[in-house]
Structure formats: structure tokens, C-alpha cells
């Protein structure tokens, strides 16, 4: 049986407020001048009132104290200065009684050289298990790629031990030998130490110096796979024997390098986000949000059961390891005018002195700390704005006694002052007479009371600990604005990083109709509309705004929106009379815009009419087609399966899938909910059965029919709908459609916004599966069609075989490129490598060089495979001339003229829009945009040229929306997905025939995007690397294009589908590339100005080629 923890929620750490303190520095109970557990126990009421929920104690174990306790001599005893083990246990119980969790340190990278293990090791024979508790070497040359961390004091990571007559390894001070995890006995001992404290009831362990546990030659000895194996073993031990205990990793690394410490949620529960901390100070000083948004952009997603630990200050220096050289210099200039303030690679100062004791700056930084995604960690004394003493050695200046009162020794101890472990701070600004708890408790406007209120406020909102983060992009970069979202809980945070008042216009159109309510004072703000939302913030001001649905803000009676069911077994009564009126006029218009799959969120719905409906056999669901009538604009139709649930099922939906709930349903058996039936496995199974069985369902006006594909029996492998092998679940990756997954065999795409007419996705999937030998697609399994005369049939759902894969091509390629950049960052490209690409590459007659293949082999090989598959797809699509829907047609001069005309119009629109928005572009894009505008006439001239292409090939059915995101990486090959075409276009447009080169252009542009967006991502971690890597991005993009085209042309050879003349081939391809690039330019100008350089440089390159 597992031993329970003091917390009941396994994810308690996500909602925690952690308070870091040193027993030595907090309160002295026995008046010997050193803080102790008795003293700490006497201050628990203070901590409880402050509102923190978890206490993190710095090391309190027996130690020679040469590194403030991080040099442990005995893991199982309490240092006598701090009390006894019984004192610790009394403290632990008292903390738990107050609902406080306790975190202690597990410092197991190294011990003190006074530890019995080390004394035994240095005297044991070389090679013996005792000696091997530590890392020894006969020379100090081993592991020479490992950096020295304490650069101020250590010259080497090796120190000679005369007793052992060998060097021992230490990543920190030379009196802290590293343990040797290659010796299994070490881990056994460490696990015993851990169990000792967990058995006592400790809730959390902070694992110190976690990246350095294992060493390997030829590496930098950080973050090694063997280290992760050790952590996994520690975690497994915890999970096996204990409930609700956690480990927190101290890994001062880039977020991407810390990510592996979460693994799949089976290593550390928490890890510090080190690089964010200095960037908050940098953003504040520079009055620019970029340092923060950049680091958060490169912060990877972590598993749901994991959490970042965020902090403004801690017991160490404000570390500047995770910043660039320029940034470090800036931080030194900005925050450490006196050289004494610097230590190692950082600044040894507390929060308040860092910001010149400016209350508003302190509040602003805390508002960021408490509203960013992660668990905030407060350092003792910062809640009252304590100062530091830079004249004390090492980092002791930020470890001075807690300032409790204005009495002798600041109320910390009644010992004679000379006995104190550290002098108290006594100067007129920071001294204990000016800054102390007692005074601030009595002052309603004190920082302490402000902090207490802020902590209490944060604890009211789960979204801060658990919600997602999305940055807004107001033009004013002094404003940092972001949305935190957790289910229905949405909070908008806006911060002014400037010392002067600032205006901002926020694009909140996604939340149109919602009402912001200022959270501190519960003040209602004007509702959000489609127009930019204007806010003005005072110097260093911040706003936290809850976003409430507009209807709620008027405080309606809840039953106004409830339906009344006469029978819980039959939902028909919900679609009649008064219920139907409420559903159509109130409930659906409020519900639909909240759904991700609903398109026109910005338009006002006048009515949502249930145009047709029927019961779905095998379930209690109703299949409804809803006609949306907008205040302005054309009607639309949506497919909305609905069902009711009562009792525990209803409660579960409210708690776990609140966005699925439309409204309350009152019935004789109590309250229930009307909900999106795709959340019910029974409905999913019934939909599958409807297709598999070829069901014919009569609706009120039309009918629904299932059409199984020829391959469906093989795809189901003898299993029936509802069997365990086809257990349904709803995919969380919801976009404009909803996907239902059945076991590991089938996936059903529900078209939420179905259009009357032949669905190209179904049509192409059925054609390729049933009538060709092209197998690199997800096999078509069937469809569900709605028919209502005189309209054409409407596809409501499509069933396909589920393809096991390694993710989509876009994600896969970005990862490959990340590795490519990492491997080549220190290399230089010979100039001839970039210059070797000629016009012949665009004609498919050139491959990449040996040099490029050696450096990016896997991804270039993948590009070639993709080229081949693309060609095979096109050949298959042209393989049935007898089928009128797929008959190839000659590519006529009229088509070409239309194409040129279309591109010309798109280009004109893009240039106009670029001109209007030039000033709001990021700095690096402004110059490129201006250059492009200066070439406007020339560009339009090129497009206006009416040159004729001879032998232009054929027009055939094509994919139509082809890019890396539309293919899946399957082992060493690709599978092509999603033949739906561009959703914004009409069905007729999506089924139109084009040259296959339109698809080719789509993929080549996608390569361009992959190369540059991977570079942007990489450079956001290492900004200094950008210019160095740009030639590498060009090399990869050109090589990938060449490989793709070469394979494509080779496979298409002789088909007559594409121009046979190489020049004509390249000319037509360039036209499609331009069409795509101008489309991208408009998109980026509207949505992602930071990315606008990608299409701009793509267009520039194409124009250069065309004018050459």
C-alpha cells in the first residue's frame, strides 16, 4: 500500500505557492544566534496567513557548512545548530496541520568531502566498490569538455587527493566530490536517503544540480541519457511507494534542454524555468516585452502532470548563464553598477534593491510571477521588500536574518548581536527598523499586505496554475498582454513595462461579446467587440481581467437557459415548443461560437435553426443540422450531434468537458445537461455502425445514409463497432472538424460545417483507395451522407484507416532541422556550396551536393521520398481518364492567362496591404518590406508578361492544399492526408483541375517555411547564432528543393502531365510559387507579422530568378 502524502490532490504542486527559506535565517528559537526549527515552527502562523502553501527548506542536514549546507556530511541527521530530528518532525506535523506542504533538498550530485562515504572512498583500494562511490581519475584531462561552473573560485573540475593518490571529480567546489552513479550502490544509498525523509512525511524533494549526475567523456557531462535513467529510477521508487509526493529539478538550462527532465511525465514533476527570470528584469529595464515573449516562445509544451517553477529571486545569484553575451553585459550594466554585486555569472542582489526599491516595479514583477504559467516561488523576505548586504562574501548578502520587528537583532534572535550567524541589515533604507514584518502587518498599505492579497487572489483561480498561455501582439511593445485559459476560465493579463503611462490596442476579437471584469476590484469593463480593445495603463501598471460571457455578466437567472425534459430516456421533447425556441434563440447562439470548429466567431448569430434532425440508432443522441442565420451575411449550416446526460454522467461532463455542455436540462429525475454527443462513446460507436452497416436514417425532411468503402471490412479486421478493438475516443486535436478515433484502426472525421456537393476529401480518398494502386494515403473506409432534395448530397462524416506515424511532416522536419542547425553551428559553408544551385535545380535536373547530404542526409532523403510520392499521387490521380471527375485536360492558354491575372491581383492586394502596415512590422521585416515595395512595378511587370508556355502539360485533380503539415512521417516514408482542399474555397473551386505543379509549389514553399521557422526557433534560444546559421538555412532549403524536384521529375518522366521542356517546367512552377508566396504574405501580414520575412524573401528570390 502506498504511503499517503499530506496533500490530497496529486497535482497539488500546480496550484501551490512555494516559499523558499533557510532555517538558519528565519527565526532563532533558542537564542543562540542561528535560526532553528523551533523558531521556524513559531512562525508558521505568519506563513499560513501570508497564504503560501508549500515551504521549501534549504539544506538543514549535518554539514561543515562550506557551501551553506549544500555540502552534506550526513543525509540523515539535522545540523545541531538547527535543532534535532524531533524538532524537524514537530515542524513537519505543525506545517501539515496548517495545510502547508514541505519540500526539502535532495543534494545527491555530490557530498561534502567530510561525508563518511568520501572518507571511506579515498582510503579504499582503487577499483573497490567503496572507492567507486566517487569519480576518480589518474589525470585531470578526462571530461575536459565539461565547463567550470564556479568560475570565481575553481580552476578545474578535478582536484588531487593525496590520500587516494588520484584526482576526484567535482562540478562545484573542490570540497564537494561528485557521487559516481555508475556504481549501482550509490543509487541504492540515495534511494534509502529519499525513503527516509518521504517516510517521515516530506511532500517534495528538490533535486539539486540534476544535470550533472553522470559524466561521459566526449560530452559536456550535462543532461546525459544516463542521468535521465537515474532520475527515472528515483521517480519510479516514489510512484511505487508514495502518494502525492513530487520532485523538483534544479537544471539551470534552456527550456528545450530542461524539457527532457519531464520526459513523458515520468521523471520530474517540476523544474525551474531559469531563463525566464533574468528576462523579466531585462524586459522591465528595457521597457520592452520581447525578452519575455521570446523565451516563452521557445518554452516547449510539457506533460499535463508537470509544471514549471517560476521565481524572481532565490538564495543564489541572479544567474545570467542562460542569456547571450550581450544580454549578460546589459544586465550587468543595468542591475549591478557596483562590481561587488556580481558573483560567478550573475548578480547577488535581492528583489527590492534590484528595482531600486520601487514599489510599483516590485508589484509589476510579482504580478508577472503570479500570472505566468507555472508555480510561483517566493524567496523569504521578498514579501516585505528586504534588502541585501553586498559586503558579505559569497551569496551571504541575500541570506541575512529575516527582519521580523524593529527590535534588537530585528526580532530574529535575542542573542547578543555578535553571536548572530550573519549581521542584520541596519542601513536607513533597508535596515530592520525601516523594513520589518511587524510594521508592515500594521500598515494596511504595506507590501506585505499587498502580497497577501495577491496570493489569496491567485489561489481563487485555478487557471493561473493550470491554464494555457497565449500572447497578444499589441503594436506598443512596452505592453505585455496575454491570455490564460483553462476550460471556461479565461483571464486576460496586461502589464505596462514602462515608467510612463502607456496605451494599447488589443486584438480580442476571438473573445467578441465577452465582458472583462477586473479581478482585483471585480469591476466590469466594456464588452469586447471585433474592434481593437483599448486599454491605458499607468506607470508599471497591470490589469488582470476575467473574461465572462456577456449573458452571465447581466446575472441572469440560470433556469432561463435550461430546457425541461419530460422523459430522460427520450430527448424528443427538447426539440419542441418552448424548448426549441430557447435552443434556437438562446442556447445554440451562445454555444456555437465557443466551439473551436465554429468558423464565423466574429459574426453575430441571429438565430440557430434546427433545420433537420433524427435519432441516431444505437444511442440516445440526435443528429442535428443547424442553420445559422447571421445578422448580416449568408446563412451557414453546421452538423451538431446532441445528447442528454443526467446524474454522475452529467457531473463528469461539467467537470471534465465543460465546453461540451450546451445547457442544463431539468427533468423529473433531476438536473442533467444537453451536450455535444461526440463526447459520448456510445454515439461514436453508433456513428461507426451507421457507416459500416450502410444505415438509412429518416430525418424530418431529408435522410442520412452510411456508405461503407470497399476496404472497410479489411480495415475493421473482423471487429464490430462497439468491440474493444474499436473502442472510441475523441481526438483532442480539434480544428475545423472533429475527429473520432476507434482503437488503433480507424479515424472518423466529422465535417462540422458541411457543404452540399461532392466532398473532395471523400471523393479523392475513395478514388485512390478503391481504384488505384497508390497506397501512400490513409485508406478510405466510408462516409455518412445527408440528402435533402433538391440539394446535392452533403458529406457529414468520413471514415479512414488510422495510420501509425511519427507525427506530421512539418513537426518531423522541424526537429530534423533543429538537429541540423545544432550540428553545424560551428561550421562554415564553402561559398561554392551556395552558388552551385542553378536554374537546372528548378527544373529538377540537379541534386544536392555531397557536402549537404553529409550534413542533412536524413531530411534531404526525406525530401526526395516526398518528391517521388507526390509524383506517384499525381500519376494515380490521372490514371482514370474514363472517370469524368478525374479526366485530365490540356492546360490551355486561357487557364494560364487566368492564372497570371489572379496572381497579379493577389500581388497588387499584397503590395497595398504591405504598404499600409509597413510601420507596424518588426524591425528586421521593415527593411525587407520597403525593399519589396520599391520593386513593386518591376514585380507586377514580370507578372504581366504574357509569355506563352509551350507544352504546358495537363490539368488534373490535385491535392490542392499541399504542405508538410498534410503528410505523416511513417517510418522512412510518408503518407499523404487531407484531400479536402483549402477550406476557405468553395467545393467547386476545390475540385477544379490544375497543373500538378501547383501541389509541387505548395510543398516547396513549405520547405522554405520549415528552414526559416526552424532557424527562428533555434535563434530565439541562441540569438547570436542567427546570422551564422542563415547560410545553412539557405543551403538546406535549396538542397531539399533540388532533391524533391529531381525525384519528382524522374518519376513523372514521360507522363505528359507536366511541361516536358525544362524551361517551361520551371516557368510554370515559378508562377505557382509566386501565387502561394503572395497568399502567404497576406496571411502573415494579418496574423503573424513576425513571420512576414519568410514570404518576403521567397518572393524576392523568385522575382530575382524571373528577371535574370
Amino acid at each position: 500500500m502506498k504511503q499517503p502524502g499530506s496533500a490530497l490532490d496529486p497535482l497539488w504542486f500546480k496550484d501551490a505557492i512555494i516559499y523558499e527559506l533557510h532555517v538558519k535565517a528565519f527565526a532563532d528559537g533558542n537564542n543562540d544566534g542561528i535560526g532553528d526549527f523551533q523558531g521556524l515552527l513559531s512562525k508558521l502562523d505568519y506563513l499560513q496567513e501570508l497564504g503560501v502553501t508549500c515551504l521549501w527548506l534549504l539544506p538543514f542536514f549535518d554539514s561543515p557548512l562550506r557551501d551553506d549546507g549544500y555540502d552534506i556530511a550526513d543525509y540523515l541527521t539535522v545540523h545541531p545548530s538547527y535543532g534535532t530530528l524531533e524538532d524537524f518532525q514537530a515542524f513537519l506535523h505543525a506545517a501539515h496541520d496548517r495545510g502547508l506542504q514541505v519540500m526539502i533538498e535532495l543534494v545527491v550530485n555530490h557530498t561534502s568531502d567530510q561525508h563518511a562515504w568520501f572518507q571511506r572512498a579515498r582510503n579504499a583500494p582503487a577499483g573497490s566498490p567503496e572507492r567507486d562511490f566517487y569519480v576518480w581519475s589518474d589525470s585531470d584531462e578526462k571530461y575536459k569538455d565539461a565547463r567550470i561552473i564556479f568560475t570565481d573560485t575553481e580552476k578545474s573540475n578535478w582536484t588531487w587527493d593525496p590520500a587516494a593518490k588520484a584526482y576526484f571529480w567535482h562540478r562545484f567546489f573542490s570540497h564537494q566530490p561528485d557521487l559516481n552513479y555508475d556504481n549501482p550502490l550509490v543509487l541504492q544509498e540515495v534511494l534509502q536517503v529519499m525513503r527516509y525523509w518521504l517516510d517521515m512525511g516530506v511532500d517534495a524533494l528538490r533535486i539539486d544540480a540534476i544535470p550533472y549526475l553522470v559524466e561521459r567523456d566526449g560530452t559536456n557531462c550535462e543532461n546525459l541519457p544516463e542521468t535521465h535513467a537515474v532520475i527515472k529510477r528515483i521517480r519510479a521508487e516514489i510512484d511505487e511507494h508514495y502518494e502525492n509526493r513530487i520532485i523538483l529539478a534544479e537544471a539551470n538550462q534552456w527550456p528545450a534542454d530542461v524539457r527532457p527532465y519531464f520526459a513523458d511525465g515520468d521523471e520530474c514533476h517540476m523544474a525551474f524555468h531559469f531563463p525566464l527570470m533574468p528576462r523579466m528584469y531585462m524586459a522591465l529595464r528595457q521597457e520592452d516585452r520581447m525578452p519575455i515573449t521570446e523565451i516563452m516562445a521557445q518554452t516547449p509544451v510539457i506533460p499535463d502532470n508537470c509544471q514549471w517553477g517560476l521565481f524572481l529571486r532565490n538564495h543564489d545569484e541572479l544567474t545570467l548563464e542562460m542569456v547571450s553575451d550581450d544580454e549578460r553585459d546589459y544586465m550587468y550594466f543595468a542591475y549591478s553598477a557596483d562590481p561587488r554585486m556580481r558573483i560567478n555569472i550573475g548578480i547577488r542582489r535581492r528583489l527590492a534593491p534590484l528595482v531600486d526599491n520601487n514599489r510599483r516595479r516590485i508589484e509589476l514583477l510579482n504580478s508577472l510571477l503570479f500570472s505566468f504559467p507555472g508555480t510561483p516561488i517566493l524567496y523569504y523576505g521578498d514579501e516585505i521588500g528586504m534588502g541585501d548586504n553586498i559586503y558579505l562574501g559569497d551569496r551571504n548578502g541575500v541570506r541575512t536574518p529575516m527582519q521580523w520587528t524593529g527590535d534588537r537583532n530585528d526580532g530574529f534572535s535575542r542573542a547578543v548581536p555578535a553571536k548572530l550567524y550573519s549581521p542584520v541589515i541596519m542601513d536607513p533604507i533597508w535596515g530592520y527598523e525601516a523594513v520589518n514584518v511587524e510594521a508592515q502587518q500594521g500598515d494596511p498599505s504595506s507590501l506585505l499586505n499587498w502580497m497577501r492579497n495577491l496570493i489569496a487572489l491567485r489561489k481563487l483561480f485555478r487557471v493561473f496554475g493550470r491554464g494555457t498561455l497565449k500572447f497578444l501582439q499589441p503594436a506598443n511593445r512596452k505592453i505585455l498582454a496575454y491570455i490564460r485559459e483553462d476550460g471556461d476560465e479565461k483571464v486576460l493579463c496586461v502589464a505596462n513595462l514602462s515608467r510612463f503611462a502607456q496605451p494599447a490596442q488589443l486584438d480580442l476579437s476571438e473573445y467578441e461579446g465577452m465582458v472583462p471584469i477586473e479581478m482585483l476590484g471585480y469591476v466590469e469593463f466594456p464588452p469586447i467587440s471585433r474592434q481593437p480593445y483599448a486599454v491605458t495603463l499607468g506607470p508599471y501598471g497591470f490589469l488582470w481581467l476575467e473574461l465572462h460571457p456577456a449573458r452571465e455578466s447581466a446575472m441572469p437567472q440560470e433556469e432561463d437557459g435550461a430546457l425541461v425534459a419530460s422523459d430522460v430516456e427520450n430527448s424528443a421533447s427538447l426539440f419542441q415548443e418552448e424548448n426549441l425556441r430557447k435552443l434556437q434563440e438562446v442556447i445554440l447562439p451562445a454555444y456555437l461560437p465557443r466551439q473551436r470548429w465554429f468558423g464565423n466567431k466574429s459574426m453575430t448569430i441571429r438565430n440557430a435553426v434546427i433545420a433537420d434532425r433524427c435519432a441516431l440508432p444505437g444511442s440516445t443522441a440526435t443528429l442535428a443540422l443547424v442553420r445559422i442565420e447571421y445578422s448580416t451575411g449568408a446563412n451557414e449550416r453546421y452538423f451538431v450531434p446532441l445528447d442528454t446526460a443526467f446524474g454522475a454522467a452529467a457531473q463528469a461532463l461539467r467537470e471534465n468537458a465543460s465546453s461540451s455542455v450546451l445547457c442544463t436540462v431539468l427533468s423529473p429525475a433531476g438536473q442533467g445537461v444537453l451536450f455535444d454527443a461526440t463526447y459520448d462513446p456510445k454515439t461514436c460507436t453508433a456513428l461507426l455502425a451507421a457507416i459500416a452497416d450502410g444505415a438509412a436514417l429518416h430525418m424530418q425532411h431529408g435522410s442520412v445514409a452510411g456508405h461503407p468503402g470497399a476496404s472497410l471490412p479489411a480495415l475493421m479486421l473482423g471487429a464490430e463497432a462497439g468491440s474493444a478493438d474499436l473502442a472510441p475516443h475523441r481526438s483532442t486535436a480539434e480544428q475545423s472538424n472533429t475527429s473520432l478515433i476507434f482503437g488503433n484502426r480507424l479515424i472518423m472525421k466529422l465535417f462540422r460545417h458541411p457543404e452540399a456537393g461532392i466532398n473532395p476529401d471523400c471523393e479523392m480518398g475513395r478514388f485512390l483507395t478503391d481504384r488505384t494502386n497508390f497506397h501512400h494515403i490513409a485508406p478510405f473506409g466510408g462516409s455518412l451522407e445527408y440528402l435533402r432534395e433538391p440539394d446535392a448530397p452533403t458529406t457529414l462524416a468520413m471514415l479512414q484507416g488510422l495510420v501509425a506515424n511519427e507525427g506530421d511532416g512539418w513537426k518531423w522536419m522541424l526537429e530534423e532541422l533543429d538537429r541540423y542547425y545544432e550540428n553545424n553551428i560551428s561550421e562554415t559553408i564553402p561559398p561554392e556550396e551556395l552558388n552551385r544551385f542553378e536554374r537546372s535545380a528548378a527544373q529538377g535536373a540537379q541534386t544536392s551536393s555531397r557536402f549537404a547530404c553529409d550534413r542533412a542526409g536524413v531530411s534531404l532523403n526525406a525530401a526526395a521520398v516526398l518528391g517521388r510520392r507526390t509524383a506517384e499521387m499525381h500519376l494515380a490521380l490521372a490514371s482514370a481518364p474514363e472517370d469524368p471527375a478525374f479526366t485530365p485536360e490540356p492546360l490551355s492558354a486561357e487557364y494560364l492567362a487566368d492564372l497570371r491575372q489572379r496572381i497579379n491581383e493577389e500581388a497588387t492586394r499584397s503590395f497595398d496591404y504591405l504598404k499600409r502596415n509597413l510601420s507596424s512590422l518588426p524591425d528586421d521585416a521593415v527593411e525587407m518590406g520597403a525593399l519589396m515595395l520599391s520593386r513593386r512595378s518591376r514585380a507586377l511587370g514580370v507578372l504581366g508578361t504574357t509569355s506563352q508556355l509551350t507544352s504546358a502539360g495537363q490539368r488534373i485533380r490535385i491535392h490542392g492544399d499541399y504542405h508538410l503539415g498534410q503528410v505523416l512521417r511513417v517510418k522512412t516514408d510518408f503518407v499523404i492526408l487531407d484531400f479536402e482542399g483549402e477550406p476557405a474555397r468553395s467545393l467547386e473551386e476545390r475540385r477544379a483541375r490544375h497543373s500538378p505543379l501547383k501541389d509541387v509549389a505548395g510543398m516547396l514553399r513549405s520547405f522554405d517555411y520549415a528552414a526559416w521557422s526552424a532557424l527562428m526557433r533555434y535563434a530565439s534560444r541562441r540569438p547570436e547564432s542567427r546570422s551564422r546559421l542563415e547560410p545553412w538555412a539557405q543551403l538546406w532549403e535549396r538542397s531539399a528543393n533540388a532533391e524533391f524536384l529531381h525525384a519528382y521529375v524522374e518519376t513523372m518522366h514521360g507522363s505528359g502531365l507536366v511541361p516536358g521542356d525544362p524551361e517551361a517546367f520551371a516557368g510554370l512552377l515559378d508562377l505557382y510559387l509566386l501565387e502561394k508566396a503572395f497568399y502567404e504574405l497576406m496571411y502573415e501580414l494579418n496574423s503573424r507579422p513576425d513571420w512576414v520575412t519568410i514570404p518576403l524573401s521567397g518572393i524576392a528570390a523568385l522575382l530575382d530568378r524571373d528577371t535574370r
Binding site: A7, L8, D15, L520, G521, P556, A648, P668, A669, G670
Partner: protein
Amino acid sequence: MADVETAREPVVPTVRSGVDLLVGIPVLPEAEALSALATRVREAAQTLRRGYSIVLAVPGESGSGAPASLSAELADWEPGSFSVQTFPAATSPNPAGVSWLAHAASVRPMAAMAAVARARVCVLLDPDLALNPEMMPAPRLALLMEPAAEGGFDLVVPWYAGGPFDDLVTRSILYPLTRALYGARIENPLGTMFAASAQMFPWIANGLTPDGARHADRQPVPTVLAASRGLKICQVRMGARPRLAESIDLSEALAQLAGPLFLEMEDTAPAWQRVRGSHDIPCFGAASDPLPATEAVDVRHFVEAFQLGVRNLREIWSVVLPPVTLLELKKLSVLPPADFRMPDALWARIVYDFALAHRLRSIRRNHLFGALTPIYLGWVASYAAQANAGGPAAAQGLIEQLARTFDSEKAYLVSRWRWPDRFQP
């Protein structure tokens, strides 16, 4: 108040598992009364749609007295369908307290027993009613059991009929406050008679807050436990209940009645701050007309008590109440009794301010309710003057109007709660 907060962990006796209904009563009746109760419980259960195995839980020792005698009687009943189970008698932390508190100590052990027995429903009876066959005949017992046993409700609470001057603390504070906070219009939010589904047992037994914290040291308030989690609650009309002459100090009564709700407010703040508006909850049982008042109330004493408070407690009130409220109270204090009217919004804000002061411990909690008492008497005077003038239906309308004002003034509470700055209007 300290007593309310220091209840101990329940001692859970062994109990056979697999029962359907666990019916408990917090006092041990005479053998004859216990037998009669068992018969009525069985009759009530028999009116339900399906057969239930029942355990009747009573305090005491199994081998003696009334339980032993009842066990002997049960030998003649259908085997396995009904049994009696004893549990150690819980001592009331405050035997001189108001009636709910006198029995509250039994709530947690009873829920713990129901959890151990894996019962589907736990019914806790108020002995003052349940032992009286006229007030609690079998059909009324069935009314209490049925929604939890067969209607899918998680909590069933009684709604007692009363006259305009009955249960005024409940009607002026507990009902409107609970309604505004949690959105559910529960007429009697505080009581020790209820039926609960299995979902409620662990929360009641362990004193779990919605965020998972454990408050084993408090008497549970099942209505808040259920409402703050959005569980299904319904009311059953139970007719009138006996009015016991409770010779308890009014301040103490306020502490014992409002104190538990104020405590719950702290733990359930994330839940109630998201609730907007309020809604009726399902109600079963025949509705009856409001009972008439037995006699008109002389408001002069209440007004005098209020005026005395204004003269003596201004300093203490100023720690709790904002200046604008103090000014309003001062203006009220000079009105003659005939004109004395306390606006609903003023009273709602005062209750909210005292709830906040309770959380912040602005003054000692026992003193806090002492300070509230004269203002409460002022509200009583205002209400009584209006209720005297109208009939019982009008009085009910006044309470409903007051409750709506609590709803609409809730934003005031939320803002004060979130940022409790004393520097306010």
C-alpha cells in the same frame, strides 16, 4: 465559535457492507420509540420502487437497551432486510447550543459509517421530528428518502413551514447568503436532517473542501459541500417543525448559525466567486400556505437595542464596516420606531462585511458576532414593522426581496473579498 471548529475525527464502528440505506438518529430513544421509528422507516422504504436493505444507526451499545430490544424484534422481519447498528455516542461540543449544533457532532460519524457500509444513501434524522409519529409519519420519511434513493439527487434537505417570525436568523442571513454565494435557493441551509448520496459521504465524513484540503476539525455543512460542487440538491416540504424554546444568547446563536457558513466561505471561495445569479432547486411534497403569525411583534425593544449598539459599538463597527455604512447606521439610529426601516442593500452589505471580517479576523470572532447582534436586531425591527403590516404572504415576499438584494449585492462582497482594503468609501 471555538467549539464549532474543534470537533474531532469520527470514530467509525464496524458495520456490515452492502446495505442500501443507512438511516441514523443522533440520540438514543426509548426502546418503544425506537421500535416505532424502525417500523416507520421500514414502511417508508417499502413505498419506494425497489426493495432496500436498511441499517438503522443509533448511538449506544449494541448488546443492551433499546438497540438490543429492537434487534430481538427484527428477528421476525424478513432476514437481511433491516438491522440495527450502534455507534459511540458523540458528545455535543456545546450542549447549550442551538439545536442543529447539538446534533451536528453525529453527522460525520454517520457519514463515515455509510461510507464503510458502502451504502447508497444515508439519511440522518432530526430526533425532535423523527421520534414524533405525527410530525414524521412514514410518507414523510419516504419523501426524504426517495429523491436520493431513486431520483438521482445527491442531497435532499427539508423545507419547513413557518410563520413570519420563525427562523429569522436563517431567513435573514443563512438563506440569502447561501443562495447568493452558491446559486442554489435552499431555504434551510443549516440542519442535521438530510438524505445524501454515496458521493457525499467521504466529503462529509472527512470535511473535505472542494480543493482537497481537509478540515476534520469542523462540523460539516452538507448543503455547502453539495452546492459548492454543483451537485444535485432538492428540497422536500416537511410541514412545520416543533419550535423549541432555546434559551440561548442571541450573539451565541448568531455565532453558531452564521459562523459555520462564514468558515465555509473561506474554503469555497473559488467556487462561489464564479457563481452568478441563483436558481430554484427542485422541490417535492405538497406546498402549503405560509403560516400566520401568532401575534404582532413590538419593534420598540429591537429599535432600542439597535440604538444602544450605535452608541456603544461604533468603534468596533468601524473596524468591520466602511464609513458609508457607519453613516447609514447613524442616520437610522435617530429614526423613531414607526419610521425605522433598514434598506435591504444595507443589511446585505453589512452581512458581507462581517463575513469578510470573520475571514480576516479583524476582531476576535466571538466579539464579531456580539457586534453584529444589535444591527441584526435593527434588521428584525425593520422587517417586523413591515411584516406586522402585511400578512404571512407579504412577509414571505419581504424575505424573497431581501434574498434578491443579496444576489445583486454579491459583486460588493466579491470585490471586498478579493482586495480587502480598508480604505474604501
